[in-house]
Amino acid sequence: MSEEATLTIKKDTLWKYSTFLLLALLIVGAFVFFLGGNNNPTTGNVVANNPQPTGAPSQPSQVTASVDDDPVLGDKNAPVTIIEFSDYQCPFCRKFWTETFNQIKKDYIDTGKVKFVYRDFPLSSIHPAAESAAEAANCVREKGGDEAYYKMHDKIFQEGNKLDGGDPITGPVRGTAQFGATELKKWAKDLGYDISSCLDSGKYANEVQKDESDGAAAGIQGTPGFFINGKPLSGAQPFAAFKQVIDAELAA
């Protein structure tokens, strides 16, 4: 006769459950500790290598993500600062740009209420063109300043939407768009900038890596990740979510 492993939750059996759960946690924890790697000594969070573009990383509630020397869109004295850590090849970042960013720009950035700062967080392990794209945008910035940077920023996402089979402005976003250095150079040329030598030299590789390190130190675990006046918001959230927190920050 087979003996069934059914447990009645009494005190003693509760201990068995607890022990099992604890053991499982310890095993997973040990596995992660030894194999997960890339632990962040500043925050204690494990930072993405990163597997998936996502909207659900956990972050500390108050962090120190700075504007650094990165491109600013909008009034530099605006009362609210949005810092986005993003990856040009990440579909969720493109989704944010397609569905939310333009509305934020129209209602808050263009009206001087918000300044927006784009910082790079390329997830190179799954998005091989992300780092090149980040460098390409910086190369364009070198030639034409922040305004040119954001033209290239928009261009990359627009072209991503086209490669994804959608409308450049409205999408929809279906998946990861595949492109490379050749396309990036062409897109920059379409805007009037020759970035071939700059991109080939890897001149801005360190700048991009610094952004990534800063993002990791601030607790970014996936893209897009935002800090609105220093408070974290993760993922390709709708305009309604941004509106609510921006309005609250403006009223504070």
């Binding site: 009645t8 939750i9 998936q52 979510a241």
Partner: protein, 185 residues
């Protein structure tokens, strides 16, 4: 118990509106906990600025938009796990109700494992959703798994399904179990 009998049992239980409502409520609670866990840092961060009621409103925005912020397969697995969790909860409730004298809930070892996995990495382990993120195990931590932790979700679906079948099979059976050192539970 044959499959036909099991379906008959499920039909009997889930056509009772009380158990159906419990299933739906538990499924929604489970889903909400996932949203809460994954959005906790944002909710906590903005709470001082938003205040209580605005934070609740903010949570609902994140709740309804949650599917847009995770991979489609992750969302589907989260929904499936939430429903299975709710169904198992109802089944256990029904079993406790009819099992007079059992003196407690019975979900079995597999149920415990399934619920643990479901809670640990329910919809999108790779996104740091679930208890994984509570323990500070984020997206990168499960990257070493071939499917970025999605396999944990599949495992929890399998185990929860198995548990539901087992609980249903034993629904109307009184058994002597775990004869251990002469003790009978």
């Amino acid at each position: 118990m044959e499959w036909k009998q099991m379906f008959s049992t499920w039909k009997k239980i889930f056509t009772n509106w009380k158990y159906l409502v419990v299933t739906v409520i538990i499924a929604i609670i489970f889903y909400s906990i996932n949203v809460l866990v994954s959005s906790w840092s944002s909710l906590k961060g903005f709470f001082p600025t938003l205040g209580f009621f605005q934070t609740i409103k903010f949570f609902f925005i994140l709740f309804f938009w949650f599917k847009e912020t995770i991979m489609f397969h992750s969302f589907i697995s989260l929904i499936v796990i939430s429903i299975l969790f709710g169904a198992l909860f109802s089944l256990v409730g029904y079993k406790v109700r009819i099992g007079q004298g059992t003196g407690g809930k019975k979900i079995g070892l597999f149920g415990g494992i399934g619920l643990f996995l479901a809670a640990f990495a329910p919809g999108c382990a790779a996104c740091g959703v679930g208890l994984a993120s509570v323990f500070g195990i984020g997206a990168g931590a499960l990257f070493f798994l071939p499917y970025d932790g999605f396999e944990l979700s599949i495992a929890s679906i399998g185990i929860l399904s198995f548990t539901i079948v087992t609980v249903t099979k034993n629904m109307y059976v009184c058994k002597l179990k775990n004869l251990n050192n002469g003790r009978m539970y």
